[in-house]
């Protein structure tokens, strides 16, 4: 009886935006008489940080300080349509909508400043809340002054609106699955190594560390990206080892009905997490961004399962990998029942789990 260590690898890819696209987002922006910027977007912030990231996009694109931006996603009367915060789409799709709206605002600021400064808008730039003449930074006026002039001198309202829609991809042949255009806005990639300890007496698996490399296009806010990745890693650990709504499946009894009977990972299970962020800008995302929210819990379960095999030489392919399943697999190994069926070129694992072992109503095989 001993504790064994192992390492396992997994690589994943994940799409940004709804599968088959066709999921619009819209936004509009108005500028107050002192140059402060109000963004109206319909994107719910579910903790993913979309209020922050969309405000960053607006500040960057117009050329004003981040703290000049107020973000309102509070209701459907004032905010335009957004398909929603899911499918890793809030930064890419809704972010593109606010980006386009902010570009319009910037153009209108330049147009008013051009009249005030009597200089062609093409020779002007906006940064840090000021409009200045390219190459002659001394000649400038604040965006607050521009907005004041727009309001009180020119009788104008500085606004912008933007919408983004990746056109819907249709399945043109349902027998082959062929589509007529890309069914995703972008694809993100990641790889993960899990290091585990397996107790062969109790079946207990402890994840010691998760090391992960993510290509997320562009980290709009690295702190928020790391938050997604760390949170996802822990969620992936729960999926891999702990959580099951139907622990006695295929019966539906004895379900966990609270935090004390349904165990999600806590600080007690938290492994060391080390992340590498890679930036491979996407062609269509705002500032090269891709989605990161969802894929961050996809690589760990397999990496953990592979690490368990590395540690004790058993494959557990029913999830979560509970101590009971580990012990059952170790028993099978000890009793010589864990080898796949090998016949000529065929190596067949898990035949007892296959639909072939349960019914003859669906035929399946090589």
């Amino acid at each position: 009886m001993a504790v064994h260590r192992g390492k396992g690898l997994a690589t994943v890819e994940y799409p940004t935006g709804m599968n088959q696209n066709g999921d619009p987002s819209q936004a509009w922006i108005k500028v107050k008489p002192d140059g402060r910027v109000d963004v109206f977007s319909g994107t719910a912030d579910i903790g993913n940080g979309s209020k922050t990231v969309q405000s960053q996009i607006v500040a960057e694109t117009i050329g004003v300080p981040y703290d000049w931006v107020t973000y309102d996603n509070s209701n459907t009367d004032s905010s335009p349509m957004c398909t929603g915060t899911f499918a890793s789409r809030a930064t890419f799709v809704a972010g593109n909508a606010v980006l386009k709206a902010a570009r319009q605002v910037r153009e209108r600021i330049l147009a008013v400043a051009s009249r005030e400064l009597e200089i062609d808008p093409a020779d002007l730039e906006v940064a840090d809340g000021a409009v200045s003449v390219k190459g002659t930074p001394a000649k400038s006026m604040g965006v607050d002054e521009v907005a004041g002039a727009a309001t009180f001198v020119h009788g104008e309202l500085l606004t912008g609106d933007g919408a983004h829609l990746n056109p819907g991809a249709a399945i043109i042949d349902p027998t082959t699955g062929e589509v007529d255009k890309p069914p995703h806005a972008a694809i993100s990639y990641a790889a993960c190594t899990a290091e585990v300890e397996v107790d062969d007496e109790t079946g207990d698996v402890r994840v010691l560390s998760l090391t992960q490399a993510y290509d997320i296009g562009r980290a709009m806010n690295p702190t928020l990206v790391e938050g997604q990745i760390d949170g996802g890693a822990v969620m992936g650990l729960g999926f891999g080892l702990l959580e099951d709504c139907y622990p006695y499946y295929p019966t539906a009894e004895h379900r966990g009905d609270g935090m004390n009977t349904y165990h999600v990972p806590t600080m007690a299970e938290l492994p060391e997490i080390k992340n590498v962020l890679m930036e491979n800008p996407s062609s269509g995302g705002p500032y090269g961004a891709k989605g990161i929210g969802e894929m961050s819990n996809n690589a760990q379960p397999a990496a953990i399962a592979n690490a368990i095999h590395d540690a004790v030489g058993v494959w557990v392919t029913e999830f979560p990998i509970t101590p009971e399943r580990v012990l059952a697999a170790l028993d099978a190994k000890r009793e010589g029942r864990s080898e796949p069926r090998r016949e000529g070129r065929v190596v067949a694992f898990d035949e007892e789990l296959s639909i072939n072992s349960f019914t003859s109503a669906k035929t399946w095989g090589a």
Binding site: K7, V12, E13, P15, A44, D45, I46, G47, K51, T52, I57, E60, Y66, N75, S79, T83, G84, F86, A87, I171, T175, G177, H184, Y189, A190, A191, A213, N221, P222, T223, G232, M235, F239, E243, C245, Y246, Y249, A252, G258, M259, Y262, V276, N280, S283, G293, E294, M295, N298, P301, A302, A305, N306, T317, E318, F319, F349, T359, A361, G365, A366
Partner: protein, 457 residues
Amino acid sequence: MKVVGARLPRYDGVGHVTGRTTYVDDVRVPGMLHAAALRSVHHNARITRLDTGAAAAMAGVHAVVTHADVPLLVYGHLSGAGIPGDEPLLAKDHVRYRGQPIALVAADTVDIARAACAAIEVDYEELPALFDVRLGFDGDAPVINDTFGNWYDQYEGNLDVRQIRKGDIDAAMDAADLIVSGVYRTQSVEQVPLETQVCVAIPEPDGRLTIHTCTQAMYFSLGVVCSHLQLPMSEVKMVGGTVGGGFGGKVDTASDTLTALAAQKSGQPVKWRWTREEEMLASGNRGPWHMEIIDAVTSDGWILGRKMLTIHDAGAYGRFSVYGLTKHSFHHTGAYSIPNLHFDGYVVFTNKIPTTAMRGYGVTGLSTAIEVHAERVAKELGMDPYEFRLKNANRVNDTSPNRIAYEDPSTVEVLQSLAAATGVELGDGLRAMTREQRSGDMLPDHLVAQIGSGGGH
């Protein structure tokens, strides 16, 4: 660029960590009633009698909402994508899962509302239940779903299976040195948001409804509410955008429509906050996936072909499951290029809670299956797990299962980067590998026809 890419603090962080953010449960409205739901105690049963008379007559009870109060009882969340609706907002004459809502009571207090739920008289005729998707195809299995039968049968109109076919799977199997099969079963998982499902619906003096919502998708939920209530979007104002965790579990619009109906019927503001037990036992969760993979590989580590069967356990009703399975099918080669494919996927119904979106929808279980299988194949071949993955990693202009050319795949780079971060020494050939379009040793004959013409992200 200074703002984009900066480590700026969260816009709403201080409010969240100091408890000052206003969530839906913090909304207080004068005259607000509280709601509780009567839910099915059976997995599968006919409702032979439903009598709300005694409950409605109780002191402090202001409205009892049943199926008869819903203007449009069945509305498909994916009707815009041509997928018919199958789930009644409130059960009418049949309950298909334990926890299915049958009635909502609005009363002066939650305790009164719960007592009134207990006073609703329901007679059930219990029926056999099905929980294992592997048994759903059997001729003698109980019929689970009135609209679709035991598995969804209307892909692109009339197919009962989501198919991917590419290349020549039989030729790949014939040419293989090794054929490795495995079965992978991932479970149902609850999203466990700290904020349970909650809604406050307010009938306004001008006849509109204000709905304080915890939805992840305000406009989607606006559409769902307005469809069930048969109202134009101008008559409902959704107030939300600040959500106490969702992870996919708050796309279903689980509480808004019923709370709105109770507010309409009582003429008073109504709050419905699910208990933790309801959240755990009755809210839509991540669905289980049963996946069988057969890979045809060569002794030097090329994956020539993949045959895959996926059975997605939808629970009792469809919700987003067809979307999830389609997405799953599009990604069933994972981060690799496999030229010959034969994929069959089914959405099968069981008497469990209807499953719904959760972080990684359609793919989390799939990635798990693909990557354990990849490890097994590498081990069977006696090959280094990095080498096997890098060799088969998708590259620029390789085509996806749907024949879309990959524009900027980073599988090679993330693997190289991970190896560096974990002290794994890759051989020279693997270290020099790039994402660039295949050529030379990385373009064997079986991949030549796989190369596309670019432009597909």
